[in-house]
C-alpha cells in the first residue's frame, strides 16, 4: 500500500509538472518514457533470470497456458459490454472495441480513431491508460483480494512491459513468466480484435 501511494504521488507530481512547469526539452520528449521503460525491463529481466521458481509456472502448463490470455480477452469483452449498458451514447460494439484494447492504448486508440472517429478514439485512449494506471496503483490490493493472477488480468497487454515490474513484486517472481507470456499474446491479439469487432 505504501508503495502504491508513493507511485501515485510520483504520477501526480509528474502530471502537475507537465501542466504547470516549464520543463527542459529532454524531459518532454516522449523518448524519455521509452528509455526509462527499457532500463526497467532490463533490471526486471535480471531479477527473473536469477529466480529459481520463475519457470515453474510454464514447466507443466503446456498448451493450457493459452487459457489465461483467452480468459482475459473474454472477460474484458464481456465486462466492457455490460458496462456500456450504463452509458447511453456508447454502443455495445464500440464498448467491446474499447475493451479489446486490453491496456494497449497507443495502438487501440489509433485504430479506433481511424475507424470510429476522434471521440471514441479518445475514450479508448483514456480507458486503456486508466487500465494501466489502475493496475500499477491497485496491484497490491488485487493480489490480496483475488490472488496472483489478478494484476495479470487487469494489466492485459501491458503485462509484458510497463506493469510487469509491479506484477513481479506483488504476485511474486513465479508469476513473472506467466505475466510476460500473457502480455505478449494479448499484445499480438489487440490489433486483430479491434479490427474484427469494428469491421
Amino acid at each position: 500500500m505504501k508503495g502504491s501511494l508513493t507511485i501515485l504521488c510520483c504520477f501526480i507530481v509528474g502530471v502537475v509538472s507537465g501542466l504547470f512547469v516549464d520543463l527542459p526539452a529532454f524531459a518532454t520528449k516522449s523518448d524519455l518514457t521509452l528509455w526509462v521503460l527499457y532500463a526497467l525491463i532490463f533490471f526486471v529481466g535480471i531479477g527473473i533470470g536469477g529466480d529459481a521458481t520463475t519457470f515453474s509456472v510454464l514447466k507443466k502448463s503446456n498448451i493450457r497456458i493459452f487459457l489465461i490470455p483467452a480468459a482475459i480477452i473474454g472477460g474484458s469483452l464481456a465486462g466492457s459490454a455490460i458496462a456500456s449498458l450504463l452509458l447511453h451514447d456508447i454502443s455495445i460494439r464500440d464498448a467491446m472495441a474499447i475493451g479489446s484494447g486490453l491496456g494497449y492504448y497507443s495502438l487501440s486508440s489509433i485504430y479506433i480513431t481511424e475507424m470510429r472517429g476522434e471521440v471514441l478514439g479518445t475514450i479508448a485512449l483514456l480507458s486503456n491508460i486508466m487500465r494501466e494506471i489502475f493496475t500499477l496503483l491497485a496491484a497490491p490490493l488485487l493480489v490480496a483480494w483475488f490472488g496472483g493472477t489478478a494484476p495479470i488480468a487487469s494489466a492485459g497487454a501491458t503485462a509484458m512491459d510497463t506493469t510487469l515490474p509491479i506484477i513481479t513484486i506483488n504476485s511474486g517472481k513465479e508469476f513473472a513468466i506467466l505475466a510476460l507470456f500473457s502480455g505478449v499474446v494479448l499484445t499480438i491479439a489487440v490489433p486483430i480484435l479491434v479490427t474484427f469487432i469494428l469491421s
Binding site: V36, Y38, I41, G45, S56, G75, L125, L126, F146
Partner: protein, 99 residues
C-alpha cells in the same frame, strides 16, 4: 515490441548467470522500485502535456472509467476462474515442492 523482448531476454540471461550471487538481487529489487517511481513520474509528465487528454478528461473521463472498470472486473473474474479450475492445484504443489 521486439526491442522489449530482446532487452528482457538479455536481462534474464544475465540474471541467470548471476543467480548464485544473492546480494546482487537485493540491490536489483531496490533499483527496480526506484525506476518504477521514475517511470510513473515521466508518464505523468506526458499526460500533463497532452492537451487532448487534459481538455477532455472531465467530459469523457467518466465514460472511459466505467468501461475500464467493466473490462478489468470481467478480466479478473474470468482469469481467476480459469486459474482455479485448471492451474491452481498443480501450481501450488509444485512451488511447495521446490521450497
Amino acid at each position: 515490441m521486439i526491442e522489449i523482448l530482446v532487452i528482457m531476454v538479455t536481462g534474464i540471461i544475465i540474471g541467470y548467470l548471476l543467480r548464485q550471487k544473492r546480494a546482487v538481487f537485493a540491490v536489483i529489487d531496490r533499483i527496480v522500485m526506484a525506476v518504477i517511481f521514475l517511470l510513473l513520474f515521466v508518464l505523468g509528465i506526458s499526460v500533463g502535456l497532452n492537451e487532448t487528454v487534459v481538455s477532455t478528461i472531465h467530459i469523457i473521463g467518466i465514460q472511459a472509467m466505467v468501461l475500464t472498470l467493466g473490462a478489468v472486473a470481467g478480466s479478473i473474474t474470468c482469469c481467476w476462474l480459469v486459474w482455479r479450475l485448471f492451474f491452481a492445484q498443480q501450481f501450488d504443489t509444485e512451488v511447495t515442492d521446490e521450497r
